[in-house]
């Protein structure tokens, strides 16, 4: 299983934003390897959710743990068969442990996005 998690500046805690998270942490459960990448969409003018979702897809992830996510990104994940779990807060390690123990629930409601709002 390859898990993607949006993480904040310190790279240890889950970032509340999906599309505009500064970093993505990619963890492979098979070999235990963890890498952190800069999110190319963090400063996008528009369509950040779609671009972030594209990054997660291209990273080969099949699982995402996030606090929330917009409808457009959710559509990308649905097409790519990526499962989305609701982050419960705390550190990345807590989230990975909670997922392994089956304690995370699937995220099924998505916000409409904040497009073009001033």
């Amino acid at each position: 299983m390859i898990i993607a998690i949006p993480v904040d500046e310190g790279k240890e805690a889950v970032c509340a934003s999906f599309g505009r998270t500064p970093y993505f942490l990619i963890h492979c459960t098979e070999n235990g390897q963890t890498d952190v990448f800069v999110n190319p969409a963090a400063k996008a003018q528009g369509g950040a959710g779609i671009q972030s979702a594209q990054f997660v897809v291209d990273a080969g992830a099949n699982t995402l743990i996030t606090v929330r996510c917009g409808q457009n990104a959710a559509d990308v994940f649905k097409a790519a068969n990526i499962k989305i779990y609701k982050a419960t807060g705390g550190s990345v390690d807590d989230q990975l442990r909670a997922l392994a123990e089956g304690k995370l629930v699937e995220l099924t409601s998505f916000h409409a996005g904040f497009h073009g709002k001033v």
Partner: protein, 278 residues
């Protein structure tokens, strides 16, 4: 001459000022660019002549021809395309209809098809031609309908553009080709805050500006001081009266009912036409 009426804050009186100004100008075109909630026609009650649908072009991909080279996805600066399982997916509401994906596709696998987003209604009331942009409910971008409404207004001696609230893309689109801007201000802290934002926008676009203070029940020093400091002429104070509110609530055009107000708007019209804006 094209005059854009804007305010930043909603409910300040853009439509009230626009309708009154066009009404005293008589031979005029009124264009409602507040396409998410076009209310001007509630006052005009125009005789509708045409209703023309507005569409935007969105790409459709031919799966047979697409080689999965991904050039379109990489080209799209709006990130309206995603690439999943070797094929592009379109997010129509994010698409800006630039046609770039079609141009960069080496396989000619992209065709553009129209997607309806709203309509433009044209009608008349006495000597005023009333053009109303109407965005379909749920659409994300107002800009295509605003463009169509402004085009439908055509060329005229005097055109009033009733802008949407805010200071984002829909407002910029509405103001872009105007000769000058009337900034409607409300004498409150919130009103002043948004007023400064639209003044900055109008100044950036190098538009001559004049100010109308609506709901002016008492002088609001910070607003008057700001206008003085910025060399912005205050052309009209509209009183905050129950009578004007009642006329508005009844869907009446206030200058048709209130002689004093009509005189005041005629003064405003001459100031605008006489180039008193700075």
């Amino acid at each position: 001459m094209r005059v854009a009426v804007l305010s930043g804050k909603g409910g300040t009186g853009k439509t009230f000022v626009s309708v009154c100004l066009a009404a005293v100008a008589q031979d005029a075109v009124y264009i409602d660019c507040d396409v998410e909630e076009p209310n001007g026609r509630l006052y005009w009650k125009p005789k509708i002549e045409t209703e023309v649908p507005v569409s935007v072009l969105v790409p459709v991909f031919d799966a047979e021809k697409c080689s999965g080279c991904r050039k379109c996805v990489e080209f799209c600066r709006f990130h309206a395309l995603a690439f999943v399982k070797d094929k592009p997916i379109v997010f129509s509401e994010v698409c800006h209809s630039c046609g770039g994906c079609m141009l960069v596709c080496p396989e000619s696998a992209v065709v553009e098809t129209p997607r309806p987003v709203g309509m433009v209604e044209k009608g008349t009331k006495a000597d005023v031609r009333v053009v109303t942009g109407i965005l379909n409910t749920g659409e994300a971008s107002a800009v295509p309908v605003i463009k169509a409404a402004l085009r439908a207004g055509g060329k005229a001696d005097f055109t009033v553009i009733d802008c949407p609230p805010g200071s984002g893309c829909p407002v910029m689109e509405s103001v872009k080709d105007a000769d000058c801007c009337l900034l409607v201000a409300e004498p409150t802290a919130f009103g002043l805050h948004n007023f400064k934002m639209i003044h900055r926008l109008a100044a950036l676009l190098k538009k001559p500006c004049g100010v109308v203070i609506n709901k002016a029940d008492a002088p609001y020093a910070p607003l008057e001081e700001y206008c003085a400091a910025q060399n912005l002429p205050i052309l009209l104070h509209i009183p905050y009266t129950e009578q004007l509110a009642a006329l508005g609530a009844a869907g009446k055009i206030a200058v048709d009912q209130d002689i004093e107000l009509a005189q005041a708007f005629k003064g405003l019209l001459s100031a605008v036409k006489g180039g008193l804006l700075t």
